[in-house]
């Protein structure tokens, strides 16, 4: 397809895609290929704080657990949380945004006011406060993040719907007597899907980052589940000697966010000029 060819020309986007696919791969087969599967949960005090070696490529942490294993398993955790959050946020945000954008009026205003409230505080602070209040383990973290990010999706969908609504074909459908939900879900939604996909991709990067911060502060997924942010938090007390404790989880976060950012940018570059030409 034409799109794929355009995409292939953008090397940065390709790199992003490769990174993400690699991460997905790790998520799926990770548990089967990690060198020390037990280290997900068990400690091995004899081997604590060993620097990188042939047995332990990334070294071991303060519980003697193999860091490579935990970083790989943490990938699945991070992606899982991110996808969960994005799905929940979109589940609420997209329909609300569509309906609010299409109907406008009091309902639209009301929805916008509600999102305004959530957006009145910087996202990270809201996420932290919510995570603290809702701390019920992994569910709490996902809920907190979903509550933090749904307004962003909602507003994006709202503004896209508003501008899509001005297209002539919508007027035509309305005059033909199509029901509003039909118009919204079967006609407007497909049209705005592309820019929404771009935002979701970049949004996944942000979610991973925020989830890492929550993990760092100790209000993310509870231990001993491998978490990149929590690993970095644990590493602090052993610096500067055990540099491997902090470097590898941090690199993992960097690569994951980078992957989504590059992919999102590449998608945006393809989609925007195409859309402009099509319209």
């Amino acid at each position: 397809m034409h799109i794929l060819r355009l995409f292939a020309r953008d090397r940065a986007a390709l790199l992003g895609l490769i990174i993400i696919l690699f991460a997905v791969l790790l998520t799926i087969i990770g548990p089967f290929i990690v060198p020390y599967p037990d280290d997900a949960f068990e400690a091995n005090i004899m081997a604590r704080l060993e620097p990188p070696s042939w047995e332990h490529w990334f070294g071991t942490d303060d519980f003697g657990r193999d860091i490579l294993t935990r970083v790989i398993l943490g990938t699945g955790n991070a992606l899982g949380v991110a996808v969960g959050v994005a799905s929940a946020a979109m589940f609420v945000g997209v329909p609300l945004g569509l309906l609010a954008g299409y109907h406008g009026g009091r309902f639209g205003e009301a929805v916008m006011r509600v999102t305004d409230v959530f957006l009145a505080v910087p996202s990270l602070i809201l996420a932290i406060a919510l995570a603290q209040l809702l701390r019920a383990g992994i569910g709490g973290a996902i809920l907190a993040l979903s509550l933090t990010y749904w307004p962003h999706f909602c507003r994006n969908v709202y503004s896209e719907t508003r501008s899509a609504k001005t297209a002539t074909f919508v007027e035509a459908l309305e005059s033909m007597g199509a029901s509003s939900s039909r118009i919204v879900f079967m006609h407007i939604l497909p049209n705005i899907a592309s820019p929404i996909i771009v935002r979701v991709t970049v949004g996944l990067g942000y979610i991973i980052m925020t989830a890492a911060v929550l993990g760092f502060l100790g209000i993310g997924v509870p231990p001993p589940t491998p978490d990149w942010g929590a690993a970095i938090a644990n590493s602090r007390q052993h610096l500067p000697e055990a540099w491997w404790l902090v470097s590898f989880p941090g690199l993992a976060i960097f690569l994951a966010v980078l992957g989504f950012n590059l992919l999102g940018d590449g998608l945006r570059d393809i989609i925007d000029p195409r859309l402009r030409r099509a319209r």
Binding site: A12, R113, V114, D116, V117, F118, L119, A120, V121, P122, S123, L124, I125, L126, I128, A129, L130, Q132, L133, L134, G205, M209, A212, V213, F216, L217, G218, I219, G229, I232, S235, R236, L239, P240, W243, V246, S247, P249, G250, I253, F254, L255, V257, L258, N261, L262, D265
Partner: protein
């Protein structure tokens, strides 16, 4: 212009009211007895009862809400169960430190980010542009707390070039209070030794905080400059013989900065968020580390108070940004 300010202020009120409502709902959304939760794990039954009366948790919901709002209006944010002090006092004590850090980070980000964005646009698609774009995408992907720790590790622990934490070295007393920002106050008081020490302490946390906004500003400025260069009026200005330096330095620059300026509000919000973690890492005695402390000690009142305060500050910042935007672009006022 005056009308614009008034309108803008009025627009902010519903959002803030909603925020108060939100925090109120959050207090009640937590499972269990709200008074016990707010009082904290270590509270005595007397303390819990006192809190219950203070907030009126045994009264009808609407009355509780009125109480809550009126307490906020009178400036009371509750009492921290850890320190047993007024939270509002503690917050006010800590705000200057956060201001100093965030202002420094923002200044650093703009002073480096904007020129780099302009350069990137000017060398559009040449190697320098590609390099800078890689830098900016990388900058956005780096976790600020990770960067903070790495910087601490490298510059303080290994190289021993900069202090590890705090605002001033042990044994030094801060200068007389003028703005609360030690760097400024020491300059005002003429104490250059204090200034050097305070500045050295500011560098690492400030830089860690500045990287993400810097990257964003670079990207926005680059896009804005490229967009401006395509405009018809730039062509006309060339056609009527504006000297190149004047054209680029005065006109293109001014036109290009409109969008980035409007983004500054959002960026400051993001910086406030990141500051939470950075302050904790560097033991910087500001609002952020206060928030982290309240999380660690399950001091919910303090956390909610921070949320409210930051929300207000953020709203204020956005109003200011809108004002600046209106001042820079005369067409905005016309749209009213």
């Amino acid at each position: 212009m005056f009308l614009f300010i008034v309108r803008r202020l009025l627009l902010a009120i519903p959002a803030l009211f909603g925020l108060v409502l939100l925090t109120f709902i959050l207090i009640h959304a937590v499972p269990g007895d709200p008074a016990a939760v707010l009082a904290g794990d270590q509270a005595t039954p007397q303390q819990i009862q006192a809190l219950r009366e203070h907030y009126g948790f045994d009264r009808p919901i609407l009355e509780q809400f009125f109480r809550y709002v009126s307490q906020l209006a009178s400036g009371s944010l509750g009492i921290s169960y850890m320190t047993q002090r007024q939270i509002s006092t503690e917050i006010i004590e800590r705000m200057p430190a956060t201001f100093e850090l965030t202002l420094f980070a923002m200044t650093l980000a703009t002073m480096i980010g904007i020129p780099l964005g302009v350069i990137s646009a000017y060398f559009h698609n040449r190697w320098l542009d590609h390099l800078l774009r890689i830098v900016s995408i990388g900058g956005l992907a780096v976790a600020s707390f990770w960067l903070a720790i790495m910087l601490q590790f490298t510059f303080s622990m290994e190289l021993d070039l900069l202090p590890v934490h705090g605002r001033l070295s042990q044994g030094l007393n801060p200068p007389p209070f003028v703005t609360g920002m030690i760097v400024l106050d020491s300059l005002i008081a003429g104490r250059f030794d204090l200034f050097r020490d305070a500045f050295a302490h500011l560098i690492l946390p400030g830089f860690a905080l500045a990287v993400a906004p810097l990257a964003t500003i670079m990207r926005f400025t680059r896009a804005a400059v490229l967009s401006t260069l395509r405009r018809e009026y730039v062509f006309y200005e060339r056609a009527v013989g504006y000297p190149r330096l004047v054209l680029m330095g005065k006109y293109v620059l001014r036109n290009s900065l409109v969008t980035p300026v409007t983004q500054i509000g959002l960026l400051l919000g993001a910086i406030l968020g990141s500051a939470v973690v950075i302050e904790a890492i560097f033991d910087w005695p500001g609002l952020g580390s206060y928030a982290v402390l309240s999380i660690a000690t399950a001091d919910y009142q303090a956390t909610l108070a921070v949320v409210l305060v930051v929300g207000c500050v953020y709203a204020l910042i956005n109003i200011l940004v809108d004002l600046v935007h209106a001042a820079v672009d005369p067409r905005i006022l016309e749209q009213l």
